[in-house]
């Protein structure tokens, strides 16, 4: 499938329009839910850290430090990607699957269009912007933690900021973006495969979407484990 996706290319002007549409559907369309989840989960992470580390011997900056580490290393790249497997993945599978059921893919084939390139390549290109979503998620997650701590009285402003800046290792951000990019490729290709090769009617589209979500999530978790072992140990 991937070989054909990068095979005979669709006309540039048409492809550009498709890429812009996919960016709108897959990236811009996901910003709202990502922002909402990141802000509140960041807040919950900070509150949980604060109420579970009330030992006076523990430093006060711990809440900010733990929030930063959990958001940058795991929550934003991995947890959001699993959520995106449901949001973006289901969208990709069901949109391609519906085109299969309604013979739109056959119509494209009859015209001589390389359907793999026409349908899948724009999604892969759009998903290269996926790290942009994760940057927003990281920022809002930490900001949510900060807001929750300050408004709830779990940490002082100075302590939280100190924790955020403490022992900051830039490679952690690099690591997060390496895996984000790999997750983006999984998010574009696995659901596209399940949509393209789905069988059956409307029920088949539903089944393909569910299967695609399960396999994309599994692939993300396995990839996460592999990349973490490779880069951080």
């Amino acid at each position: 499938m991937l070989q054909r996706t990068f095979g005979k290319f669709t006309k540039g002007a048409v492809l550009r329009k498709l890429i812009v549409r996919e960016i709108d559907d897959l990236i811009i369309g996901s910003l709202g839910i990502v922002a909402f989840i990141s802000f509140f989960v960041g807040g919950v992470v900070a509150i949980q850290t604060a109420i579970n580390s009330d030992n006076p011997l523990l430093p006060k900056y711990l809440v900010g430090f733990a929030t930063r580490q959990s958001i940058i290393l795991e929550f934003a790249p991995s947890f959001i990607s699993v959520i995106m497997a449901g949001k973006v993945g289901s969208f990709i599978t069901s949109s391609i699957g519906t085109m299969r059921v309604t013979e739109q893919i056959d119509a494209l084939k009859v015209m001589g269009v390389n359907t793999y390139n026409y349908l899948i390549f724009p999604k892969i290109v759009a998903m290269t912007l996926y790290p942009f979503i994760i940057v927003i998620s990281m920022f809002l997650g930490i900001f949510g933690g900060y807001v929750a701590c300050i408004t709830g009285g779990f940490s002082a402003h100075a302590d939280f900021i100190e924790g955020l800046q403490l022992e900051f290792n830039p490679f952690h951000v690099t690591y997060a973006f390496i895996k984000t990019f790999l997750f983006a490729m999984l998010l574009a290709t696995i659901p596209a495969y399940h949509g393209y090769y789905m069988k059956g009617g409307a029920l088949g589209v539903g089944k393909a979407s569910t299967t695609s979500f399960v396999w994309t999530s599994v692939a993300i978790i396995v990839m996460n484990s592999f990349v973490t072992n490779l880069l951080l140990t």
């Binding site: 005979k8 006309k11 013979e103 739109q104 056959d106 119509a107 084939k109 009859v110 015209m111 001589g112």
Partner: protein, 255 residues
């Protein structure tokens, strides 16, 4: 002209097409008829190259489809128009965009000219005030017209229609049949229609191929079909009392 030589097609060991020979002439409406499950759609998809045949040859203007390289097949496909059973219009595009699509994909024609040619095709199928509507906003008959307009916008030499009348009221069905026949004769296209609409058989069947259980059981014209003594054809075509009477009247009048 399209010729089909002894084509066979199997799915998971089940043979659906069992050695069919046929030829389809230019400027004629060629009909493939047969009961559901007789292999009509598979046959049409094999001719289109959407299914690879297990055995046999499909020949377009004396050139076997299987001997063409990818570029030649792509060029041939740009010379084909297809009207799918469910119209297969692109949901996210308006009527006009659907019709413009093949030209946008395969020609370097300026946008204004593409729009003009798309509108000529839309007018040719008598669609009025639908250019900016989405497929979900138009009726089944209108969708079929859009599909026909999209199929003819590149001035193809081959037109394929998979049950173009299914789900349409009798009046609209006749209009669609007449439209396809007119276009076939006007542009001298080789048209192949897959149908089990008996009105289409009687009205526009310039050449009819009857498929039964994966075999070609009968071949003739809409005139021949009244006189045939092929039991399978008569059982299928004249299954209703109305068509039995039509046949009787036709035969009495022609004697």
């Amino acid at each position: 002209m399209i010729a089909v030589n002894n084509i066979r097609k199997s799915f998971d060991g089940t043979e659906v097409l069992k050695g069919i020979d046929a030829s389809f002439e230019k400027g004629k409406t060629n009909l493939i008829i047969g009961q559901s499950g007789s292999g009509k759609t598979v046959f049409l998809k094999c001719i289109l190259g959407l299914h690879q045949v297990t055995e046999g040859e499909i020949i377009y203007n004396n050139v076997p489809f299987s001997s063409m390289d990818e570029n030649a097949q792509t060029l041939l496909r740009q010379d084909m128009g297809m009207v799918f059973q469910g119209s297969a219009l692109f949901d996210s595009m308006t009527v006009e965009e659907n019709v413009m699509f093949p030209m946008q994909m395969f020609t370097e024609t300026p946008q204004d000219e593409i729009r003009e040619r798309a509108n000529i095709a839309i007018n040719r199928v008598n669609l009025v005030d639908a250019n900016h509507k989405l497929p979900a906003e138009i009726s089944g008959g209108m969708k079929k017209r859009v599909a026909i307009a999209r199929a003819i916008v590149m001035n193809p030499n081959y037109l394929f229609c998979d049950e173009p009348n299914s789900g349409l009221d009798p009046k609209t069905a006749i209009l669609i049949d007449n439209l396809i026949q007119e276009i076939t004769q006007e542009y001298q296209i080789t048209t192949i229609i897959n149908t089990h609409d008996m009105n289409s058989v009687m009205e526009i069947g310039e050449k009819i191929i009857f498929l039964r259980e994966g075999f070609k059981s009968w071949e003739g014209t809409n005139k021949d079909i009244f006189r045939t003594d092929n039991e399978a054809v008569t059982n299928f075509v004249y299954s209703s009392e109305l068509f039995k009477k039509v046949r009787k009247v036709y035969l009495e009048e022609s004697e």
